[in-house]
Symmetry: C2
Subunit: 193 residues, 2 copies
């Protein structure tokens, strides 16, 4: 998506440790024009897959998930909650997710009554690096006996390989911008149709 | 706002300790039709106040803030980040906020370059109880030398008094639903114009 790539080039910052800082338009301040354009793009990519719910993880995936839902017939959005300690509550599905950014593991939970066997679930998130968050959400969907219809990501760090591994397994992952190389302030995007 | 009050009556649950559980439509699963109606209502309430930015705190205020921004000329949204430990980063404004729900104190931060002296800031949040989160955000706005234009809240627990104290100090607080009494499953809303 040209608009997002240009925004990353002009306002993103590459920090040591392969961190891409996009807090000026996505991660702390949210550019609503861009957000709306991304939501419209996801809706176009996943329309026809009969999505009944969108799943994301707090906090920065929430905005994108809600705007996408607006463009996808106002389907409900569910966000997984992060807990630092293992959650043994019988009323929730739970999965451990390791955060690349924070170098720590969270337990992510969703109330069982919100994710149902008949649900067709679209996963939306702002970042995909090694794919651990997406796999965690896929685990929650599987626990519920629901069905994954697709994965929509704003920014994929292609060089970390998580997205391509998922695609190789047949998971329909669509990322609006895929970064194949980050070198100082130099960013190379993967050409996409 | 009639629609929100009806939703709280039909789908909310009052738990011991004056906790109102609304995770079926606001706090974990988000009803996008309702969210959009709330955003439109906030935009109507605060149009004419020349808002340049909307401020909220992660995680559950983000959806409401972004949808409100969509109806208010696509102004940027900023969300404060919660930290369990005191943040001594020179590049951020920081304020301690005590969470009524989690019985713990967070340090909430916003990058200094995102909140500017000329900004006219609308605070949006899902809940207002004793008003600590709103006062924390007001503190961040004051640290930046920016100006508060108003406070928009989805659900105010009127019986905890935080909203009325702010109003008595001249802060323009608008809540879409004000609960003056919760007694078991019985909920009494404050009549509003």
């Amino acid at each position: 998506m040209r608009l997002l790539e240009e925004k990353i080039r002009s306002e993103g910052h590459v920090l040591p440790g392969n961190i891409l800082k996009v807090d000026g338009f996505l991660n702390q301040q949210i550019d609503i024009d861009l957000l709306d354009a991304m939501g419209r793009e996801f809706a176009a990519l996943f329309q026809g897959t009969r999505v009944t719910k969108i799943l994301t993880v707090e906090a920065s995936g929430i905005a994108l998930a809600c705007i996408t839902a607006r463009h996808l017939g106002n389907v409900p959005v569910i966000f997984g909650k992060k807990h630092k300690t293992l959650n043994r509550d019988e009323s929730v599905y739970s999965t451990p997710i390791f955060s690349f950014t924070h170098h720590t593991s969270y337990d992510v939970t969703v109330a069982k009554r919100l994710l149902l066997p008949g649900d067709r679930v679209l996963i939306i998130d702002d970042f995909l690096a090694d794919g651990k968050a997406v796999r965690g959400m896929m685990d929650l969907i599987a626990q519920a006996g629901a069905r994954l219809t697709g994965v929509g990501i704003a920014i994929e760090k292609g060089f970390q390989g998580g997205g391509d591994k998922l695609r190789a397994e047949g998971v329909p992952v669509h990322s609006l911008a895929i970064i194949d190389e980050m070198n100082g302030e130099e960013i190379r995007f993967r050409p996409q149709p």
